[in-house]
Symmetry: D2
Amino acid sequence: MRLILSVLILASPIAALAQTPSAATKPEVVQYHATIDVVKYVYGVAPPVARLRPGNILEANSLDCFGNGIRKPGDTLALAKGDNPLTGPFFIEGAEPGDTLVVHILDLQVDGNQGIGAFAPGFGALNETNYTPMLHTPLPEKIWFYPIDHADNTATFQALDSNYNVKIPLHPFLGCIGVAPTNGEARSSVVPAEFGGNMDAPEVSAGNTLYLPVSVSGALLYFGDGHAAMGDGEIAGTAIEVPMKARLQVDVVKGKRTNWPRFENEKEIMAAGIYRPVDDAVRIAFTELVAWIHADYGLSELDAYELLSKVGKIHLTEMVDPNYVVVASVEKKYLPAKKTSK
Amino acid sequence: MRLILSVLILASPIAALAQTPSAATKPEVVQYHATIDVVKYVYGVAPPVARLRPGNILEANSLDCFGNGIRKPGDTLALAKGDNPLTGPFFIEGAEPGDTLVVHILDLQVDGNQGIGAFAPGFGALNETNYTPMLHTPLPEKIWFYPIDHADNTATFQALDSNYNVKIPLHPFLGCIGVAPTNGEARSSVVPAEFGGNMDAPEVSAGNTLYLPVSVSGALLYFGDGHAAMGDGEIAGTAIEVPMKARLQVDVVKGKRTNWPRFENEKEIMAAGIYRPVDDAVRIAFTELVAWIHADYGLSELDAYELLSKVGKIHLTEMVDPNYVVVASVEKKYLPAKKTSK
Amino acid sequence: MRLILSVLILASPIAALAQTPSAATKPEVVQYHATIDVVKYVYGVAPPVARLRPGNILEANSLDCFGNGIRKPGDTLALAKGDNPLTGPFFIEGAEPGDTLVVHILDLQVDGNQGIGAFAPGFGALNETNYTPMLHTPLPEKIWFYPIDHADNTATFQALDSNYNVKIPLHPFLGCIGVAPTNGEARSSVVPAEFGGNMDAPEVSAGNTLYLPVSVSGALLYFGDGHAAMGDGEIAGTAIEVPMKARLQVDVVKGKRTNWPRFENEKEIMAAGIYRPVDDAVRIAFTELVAWIHADYGLSELDAYELLSKVGKIHLTEMVDPNYVVVASVEKKYLPAKKTSK
Amino acid sequence: MRLILSVLILASPIAALAQTPSAATKPEVVQYHATIDVVKYVYGVAPPVARLRPGNILEANSLDCFGNGIRKPGDTLALAKGDNPLTGPFFIEGAEPGDTLVVHILDLQVDGNQGIGAFAPGFGALNETNYTPMLHTPLPEKIWFYPIDHADNTATFQALDSNYNVKIPLHPFLGCIGVAPTNGEARSSVVPAEFGGNMDAPEVSAGNTLYLPVSVSGALLYFGDGHAAMGDGEIAGTAIEVPMKARLQVDVVKGKRTNWPRFENEKEIMAAGIYRPVDDAVRIAFTELVAWIHADYGLSELDAYELLSKVGKIHLTEMVDPNYVVVASVEKKYLPAKKTSK
């Protein structure tokens, strides 16, 4: 049985990185096509649209954050079909509460020839919002369209108030990826939290592995909100919003649970912290990173704290959603050898 | 007269970058040696230790943040001679309130063979502090010593609780650099604020130019708190703390004032935001950057906001001092041509 | 039909206060008894335990926040049966999304002879928590028992580390009261948010009326977490926790929706703001109060802002739950006459 | 010698309350009249305008926060003569660093027949400010005039956008009162911090005693910014701003230092916490209150924490100045007998 095999060879979540469990045989591929009629708007328990076994590769698409409802100049935000429609959920066989879901981001491709940036009143880091309300007249709604050039891998910003334009390199990633939350909660697709969700993290890109806490049988994986490129903080409230084609490989680490989303690649380990204010998101991310280093690499907590004060990195991915997201990271070259599994 | 000349040719603070005012003739060099007996602990009005004219180069040293009082294993923080002793102040001829002081960071060299990292109770991002107090027993004081290898340009972290060590590349910068504040205020050398100060910003490194608001005649420039390397956030409360040799060239932009510290190099413009919580520091930094782009590069404010949401960067330099510091930046390649001076 | 009648006579949510819709005839009373087997731990859509019509009075009990699982010295928090078990949900006939649910708090009685205060590691304003984590050793778990004296209406604090005791007057209120959230969300019973929930607001006491936004058919009212008395901020994480007997009268305001919970009594109008940090909770509460005064009492927004700056009140009810809760209020004597309904 | 006598009889800061040191003999009165020509705008070291001995009573006036520069409808904020002009400093004989300055607020009288409320762009809790900047068009400047009726002890709010007016009871207090800061700092008169300053605390009213940390010889007491009445949070940025006549009695507690301002009256002890966000101000205030109860009333820290969770009070005095101010308090009736002095 694949699942039991993978349990045996995985000592800890991050062990999943080096050897994808099905390296020897060609992994099974599950394909799924999402449309506006079957998307979800909540991370929670819902009937799965497909089932995956550990090691399987999922090939599926996602709609853009407006449900592909905004198409051309003159369209308004009122045409958006919900916020962040989600593809899924996918039931991962063998994933049970207390386990960790592993998602290898194998490939992401912008699914179309145009991206959208929009300024929505009540959303953004430099204007009043639902949670930082003020008495001003709101800033006006505006929409920018970004032609995608697949040949040179860029999107083009065209100013609305002058005739300036500039090319921006693509860095495709999924703004939303998450599982059903703990405690019977169900959370909107605009929310990031312990279960992942709307993290707007460029770390959810090809070459990285994501770890998520499993809280219900089958984990119930959702994703969406593709971004062709984004600045730190996503400060005006949107990235270059695009439909996406995703190729993801899933796995399960049995009996180990991550408290918060984590990322890993060959060079780095990365821990997400998700809350308000940013200060607390930073505290969460770094206590997680200290704990990870202590557990898997053997430094004492205070040595890890000191070392991170010298070589740690902080990435504020977004400061506009209901919770803010920080990813704290350290390069593996600064860490002791990983402890071997027992 | 150099000063008047520079006024004529400088259209805005950032114009100072391209042409250092004394390109034609060899700039005058002023040398100064700081000792523990003449350092200051406050950014404010004090008798200058030397006077510089615009275009002059200052060659001076700074003590480490402990006043060079901690030397060897067994020493304790009680031996520190104040916090962040400052070299200066330097009086800049012609700098008057309403002007901007320009500091080109030409060169920084670690002045010694050892750096120090310390964990001080009541200071740090993951423990209780004076401003985020809690009822726990404080974490214990600890000191790490970092041998500096000038040949391979590294410092070595040696764990205290295991025998692990690792080399860290040097990135020398000044944790403290600032001028006398506005409104007759005088601020401790541990504080960062509008006048600069304890920004702990790796951006204060060779190759970058710093802009500071002039609030008193002569600006009164101070610096200190040399860092050999530091992680984002300086989360445990210290970098690799070192004495430093600095080579700085000063200039003045007459009649233009920056509200907050700004940085610039050939590739980027960078605006600092300094306050608590981090959220507000981010807001300050990005509104400054939007204003800068609007004023000097001609994009409308909303176009600038949108563009930064796609290509802006956020660097949280420290989250441990009385105020927190964020540097928001954008690469010039994404901006229109700079507006020519009138 | 009662419901239609109440629509006709209610000009705005707060009109519900003066005339309970069934003043003329004796209101119908619905009785319900909650036990540990039927409580809920989530505000969301679930089969109702009973149905109420507008004007009905509900008489029901709630378990304490530990599910009545902690009984005597020596018991530990491990005996708690979940956090904040909720009585409900109650389906309110005629309540539809876009309406406002009105809950008159008629009477609350402590249902037992003992209250409990507990210090749980990871919870509290002056110690590390899940969302403000630190590296310290956590404070130890401790439990205080408070004998209730129904005759003199007091609870008695007995110090654990000395032989001091003191009587505290009872002010019974419900720490939890809320409805199903919007957008298909389901939220844990420890969370306060737009839908009410774990507001820990002493304003939920006899004599006050609470307004909540209806997001699903029937509103689905839950309550629990009785408190015999509590300090501002609930800083150590608990009030004097008790089972409660509640007598509540419900009503519905058709076609008007409150964004956030509101309270009212003969003397005051009160708006809740719920988020982190406290700063944003204050902003939410006061923008709501400004809007309320503008809409129902006719002052301009800036006049209302100015007046509140002179006579407004802020009550920080709790600063320990996943969101923080502030109630902003103003006495009606400072307001113009309420606008008459059209 | 008075000073030595007072040292002998004072066991702790709060002992100063019960017996004013000069109860037996009539205290000496020092009178001082402030004008716009001699006010200060910074808390720091400056030549004293008068000297007081412990036990002396100071009778002095203060200008309003606009330097009495705004007089009648049509005047604008541009006529203000600085922000918060301060009367002082007063040198208190015998006060040395490490001591606590005691200020009994004996009497405060509004010095005039009119108060002013103003809405200044860039200042306030519900609009963008220097430290929470946004991209909106700022709210417009507005000024409200409040006639003072000394006979019935009220001020009258007159709406600008409708013809509504209402009387507001006077509660005169000093928005500013403080001493020279530590570490050689000098702080603007708009700032509240450890040294007191612009706390905008209604607790600075007749009948209360204020304790401040002495950081320089003579303490150097300043005051100003009289308020006839104010709402919690001072949310629009002003109270009813008035010139004031103050009657203050000073004393010194030798060899004991308070970290933050504290207040006391016959019924309560109160500790101020001053920082951003409000969350941290609350943490400061309550850790101070826990420490005070532990030191002077003998409860263990955890018992004090628990008790305050049941009976503590929080007053958010202002959320508009560069730092925010919270006063945490508890009624003495809930505390053990005060420990006797040794």
